[in-house]
């Protein structure tokens, strides 16, 4: 039993290389209780092999619009069926975000292609703009 970690442990530097996440990000996740190190070698944090998988799950949930606090709760309730209800609600807001981004994308796309010298003089663009805050 070595408090400095076992053979299977990964140094924080390896985790950073494999995930592209910064040490500050890992510190932050640790502070929120989302991840934990198995020990230290010198001052450097060591992690279990499954840390990369855990970080990937966190990334997936983040991209889906969960806050880190919500992700922490989801991970605790992983074996509870309740998370599916939460996930379904997020799925709907995800769909709305995607649709909103698509509209923004199309608006920018049109602005780029438009030949009008001042975009605000383009009728097509103006219609898009007016649709954002309808009167």
């Amino acid at each position: 039993m070595r408090s400095s970690g076992t053979v299977e442990d990964m140094d924080i530097g390896v985790v950073r290389e494999n995930t592209g996440l910064s040490a500050a990000t890992l510190h932050h996740y640790e502070q929120l209780g989302l991840i934990a190190s198995t020990g230290r070698v010198g001052l450097r944090r060591q992690y279990n092999d499954d840390i990369v998988e855990t970080l990937a799950v966190i990334a997936l949930c983040q991209r889906s619009g969960f806050t880190l606090e919500e992700i922490g709760e989801l991970m605790v309730r992983r074996h509870n069926a309740a998370w599916k209800t939460i996930a379904r609600a997020k799925l709907e807001s995800l769909d709305r975000r995607i649709a909103s981004l698509q509209e923004a994308r199309d608006g920018i796309q049109h602005a780029i292609n438009c030949a009008s010298p001042d975009i605000m003089r383009c009728e097509h663009f103006r219609h898009r703009i007016e649709a954002i805050y309808p009167i």
Copy 2:
């Protein structure tokens, strides 16, 4: 010439009703120089009719991934062709964000539909997770 505003002016309360934006948001945009009031009635800010259009343009740009500071620069350079170069770069990052959201959406969707008692035991889900930080 009345310093308190003209007949065409809108009270900040009307702007809030028409856009759903809070007074704090309008203060923030004013501080960054994105919008300006035409004057006051008592303490209350008054705005020109075109304020709603300006706010819609800001919203479109924000949804496209521009920061408020970038939006300020875009508005200054509106008659300059350079903004199209900036817009093209944003269009690409927008496409990447949409694709990333789509993947997240599909991952969540599968997790909801999956019959496995523990999602981490689902091979399909694990493949998705492993694709996030490939080894």
